[in-house]
């Protein structure tokens, strides 16, 4: 296996797409997170909150999709060193999510290359749900 090539500033992080967020997976993550907020599993609560008629994906899970993209790019979960995200819009069951990123800096630190990126998660309708920054190691 060859070592991955160190990216350069301006490079694009290989994009990733979630074709459709599944309601059952949102429910599993509510259990894993021990998150009792009913907007993740109770459509009556979603409607009562004025959020429409589909389950709301956890913001942290949408952030995890960004981490998936970074781990797939670097080939390792351990290479994901930092991710900072701002949650700008909800993602709902049934939504597609497009993950993307761009390299903003490359630093040599303690014998490895730390690569800083802008990252994002856009809903299928183009609305930016998550925006942030990340650092990965190559």
């Amino acid at each position: 296996m060859t070592a991955p090539t160190v990216p350069a500033v301006g490079d694009t992080v290989p994009p990733l797409r979630v074709d459709a967020v599944e309601a059952d997976k949102i429910r599993i993550m509510a259990l894993v997170l021990q998150d009792p907020n009913p907007i993740h599993f109770d459509l009556a609560a979603v409607r009562a909150a004025g959020l429409g008629d589909r389950e709301v994906n956890q913001g942290g899970v949408t952030m995890a999709y960004v981490i998936n993209m970074l781990a797939a790019w670097t080939g390792s979960r351990a290479a994901v060193r930092a991710v900072d995200c701002r949650f700008a819009a909800n993602v709902f069951a049934g939504d597609a999510v497009d993950l993307g990123g761009t390299v903003t800096a490359v630093r040599a630190v303690d014998g490895e290359h730390l690569v800083d990126c802008e990252v994002w998660a856009d809903r299928g309708d183009g609305v930016r749900a998550v925006a942030g920054t990340a650092t990965v190691a190559f």
Binding site: G60, A64, Y65, R77
Partner: protein
Amino acid sequence: MATDIDAEPAAPLITLDELTEALDGRTLPGAELTVEAYQSALADHALLAPAEDSDHAHPFWLIVLALRGMGITVDELCALAGQRSQDTLLYGTCGIEQLAPLHVGRTFRTTCTVGPVARKESRSGGFLDFVTVRVEVRDADELVGVVTEGFIYKRGA
């Protein structure tokens, strides 16, 4: 039939001084939590995680440990923040630093502090209260991760 006079008065908005007194600089109990293999597998499935040939948990587990490891529930945090029925809690920001990978099956100790706390007036004239929670995650004595979460209380009229 109830009249306006009979109606219960709306709960008053917590003052910034009260909010600061209740939360800013507060240390929460923290917790000890294990990344169980079956929960890791279920989370990988639900997160659509790419295949991983190590025993490293998904870095998302730092968020799980942070939310489950405050030592109080989110509802209890909301009570400290004076959340009323007309207020909405938003998960505004989240930052993770993974200093070392989390190994599935290990037990982690979390420590948690709150702060800073801030209030801003929204464009609509209401208030937004920002509460930052920082959780450190240790495997034995090694600091393996830090999570900084920004909770926003959107105060209703």
